[in-house]
């Protein structure tokens, strides 16, 4: 089975995010990008399929931020191939545009199973996996927590429904799956192993395809929410804060 895993770089949520002077985009000058969390789970899901059932895993990513590091890490974790779509597209890429780019690449190099994270923290105009499935006219299931091949050549996926319920869905291949979690946490690779891979392996490239204009909403303003001001903030030494909190709990009758 040929598996393509699509990896998206997103702003590091731990960093302070600044808006650029246009007021409609993030200031990218100091922005640090990291791999989107659910894409890391998608990669783990692909590697589990490879280990348990045999598969050829290719990681694909747009040329963005520190993507080389991410692609080498995918190789170090066990991906067979890592491919960067280059050059970097101009400006930021909407999800509709990213879906159109990946669709063009996947038409050039088809996969039996396309895995990607079901969402990224900066999704504005949609989520990549579903958009891509629509463009490629492939079966799609998202918000999955496990993907297993079935004897009849389909895959059985577990999709989350609300309230802790899940559904087991049989999906014929080729298909696009939007992963929320892999059956186990994404594996860790030591930095030394990544360095070794950087010396011994290389990242392939695919030329950035031309895509037509995509339907996207017009951004008027990007901003930070003003604090709702609802919370009473407690400050002081940990002991002072703890004392105050205990007083609140007694006052509210939570502590008996």
């Amino acid at each position: 089975m040929k598996i393509a895993v699509l990896l998206t770089m997103v702003p590091d949520p731990v960093e302070e995010l600044e808006i650029d002077p246009s007021g409609t985009a993030l200031d990218t000058q100091w922005l640090r990008y990291v791999l989107s969390e659910s894409d890391d789970h998608a990669l783990e899901q692909a590697l589990l399929l490879k280990e348990r059932h045999g598969a050829q895993v290719t990681a694909l990513a747009l040329d963005y931020g520190d993507v080389d590091q991410t692609l080498f890490t995918a190789l170090a974790k066990g991906a067979d191939e890592a491919v960067k779509i280059a050059p970097a597209p101009e400006g930021s890429v909407t999800r509709h545009e990213a879906a159109a780019i990946f669709a063009a690449i996947l038409r050039r190099r088809p996969a039996d199973l396309v895995l990607t994270g079901v969402q990224a923290i900066n999704d504005l105009d949609g989520h990549l996996a579903g958009l891509l499935a629509g463009l490629l006219d492939l079966p799609y299931v998202g918000v999955t927590r496990s993907v297993e091949p079935a004897p009849d050549g389909t895959v059985l996926v577990q999709k989350e429904y609300p309230g802790g319920v899940a559904a087991e869905i049989s999906v014929p291949l080729p298909a696009v799956i939007g992963v929320i979690s892999a059956p186990q946490p994404p594996r860790y690779v030591p930095v030394a192993r990544i360095r070794e891979v950087m010396r011994t392996r290389s990242i392939g490239t695919e030329a950035l395809p031309a895509i037509g204009a995509q339907p996207v909403p017009a951004i008027r303003r990007l901003y930070k929410p003003t604090a709702a001001g609802g919370a009473t903030m407690l400050a002081g030494t940990p002991e002072e804060v703890a004392r105050e909190l205990v007083a609140v709990l007694v006052d509210r009758g939570v502590l008996r």
Partner: protein, 329 residues
């Protein structure tokens, strides 16, 4: 091409014979939007023998129903492709669905099939001078983005963005049954079975005090700190998704969109950022106390009391104070 009719659509989410509470939130807001746009509110109900559910959708001017065995349980393919076929026929001005685990799949696929814009994580939608404006929440609530939405767009609206009461009128709304589109024969993904949540050791929906840990707890080895506090408070430990995904606690302890909805007397959120998917499961708690090192963490927008601090400093102090208070009592 004819001008789009000013229909506002709400996709009706349902599971095991009940309409999702979130659908009523959308119907309530959809009612107002339809009014501002001078159009009608249409609830789109896809399912198998689902006509009975229409009676709970009285807030809509019309229920458009497609009944087909392939639509019994939600699959993105079955439901999005049917929605797309209906939309091509009726050209709705706006399609609202929930930013739920079904809705986010539906919305993206539908937007791609129709080649229309979509807005994810919508927390507000309104009409200004005849234009539709939506506010999307990004980066787990750290950023907001106002966008102008062209006619025909699909919006995935966060749970809790609007009150459900306004959408909860019952009655006998007119039902228009639409034929199942031919393409249903081509739908390839099939639901094999539903998997009910495994009963946990503790039912966190019934515990009066919840000590909730997020990624800020850092390591499994740190969990006993939270357990000790929960024991002192007569409660239980629950967690945000990353903690569960790491396998540090069972799925039955997850609070949020994919986990449990809880409403304890006290919800103590430790090292939880307050992403919309988490807030969805706990915002109704009677008293919310949040401890987070980041003063801009969105959890503080729902908390009643907040502390900007390291949980590893606050936790031991709190345990000590509580033990003292208990001894004194």
């Amino acid at each position: 091409m004819s001008a789009p009719s000013p229909e506002v659509w709400v996709y009706v989410e349902h599971l095991k014979g009940s309409v999702a509470p979130h659908t009523y939130e959308l119907l309530g807001r959809g009612r107002e939007l339809a009014q501002s746009l001078g159009g009608r509110l249409v609830a789109v109900l896809l399912g198998r023998q689902a006509a009975d559910l229409a009676r709970t959708l009285g807030a809509a001017d019309l229920v458009r129903l497609v009944d087909h065995e392939q639509l019994e349980a939600f699959t993105p393919d079955g439901h999005a492709r049917t929605m797309a076929a209906l939309a091509e026929q009726h050209r709705p001005h706006l399609v609202l669905c929930g930013a739920t685990s079904a809705g986010i799949d539906l919305a993206s696929l539908l937007a791609a099939l129709l080649q229309v814009p979509m807005v994810a994580n919508v927390r507000a939608v309104g009409v200004e001078d005849g234009r539709i404006l939506a506010t999307s929440q990004l980066c787990g609530g750290k950023l907001l983005c106002d966008v102008e939405v062209p006619s025909g767009s699909v919006l995935a609206v966060l749970a809790g963005a609007y009150p459900a009461e306004a959408g909860m009128s019952t009655g006998e709304p007119p039902v228009e049954t639409a034929a199942a589109p031919d393409l249903l024969a081509r739908v390839r993904a099939q639901v094999v079975r539903l998997i009910e949540p495994a009963a946990g050791d503790v039912d966190i929906t019934r515990v009066p005090v919840l000590v909730a840990v997020g990624r800020g707890i850092q390591r499994k080895e740190n969990l006993p700190l939270a357990e000790e506090l929960a024991a002192l408070l007569g409660g239980a430990v629950c967690a945000s998704r990353p903690v569960i995904d790491q396998g540090w606690l069972p799925l039955s302890r997850q609070v949020g969109k994919s986990g449990m909805t809880v409403k304890p007397r006290l919800y103590l959120a430790l090292g939880i950022s307050g992403a919309p998917e988490h807030l969805e499961g706990m915002r109704q708690s009677e008293l919310i106390v949040a401890v987070n090192t980041d003063p801009a963490a969105p959890i503080f927008t729902v908390a009643h009391y907040g502390v900007v601090a390291d949980i590893f400093e606050i936790l031991p102090a709190l345990v000590a104070q509580l033990a003292k208070a208990k001894r004194a009592a």
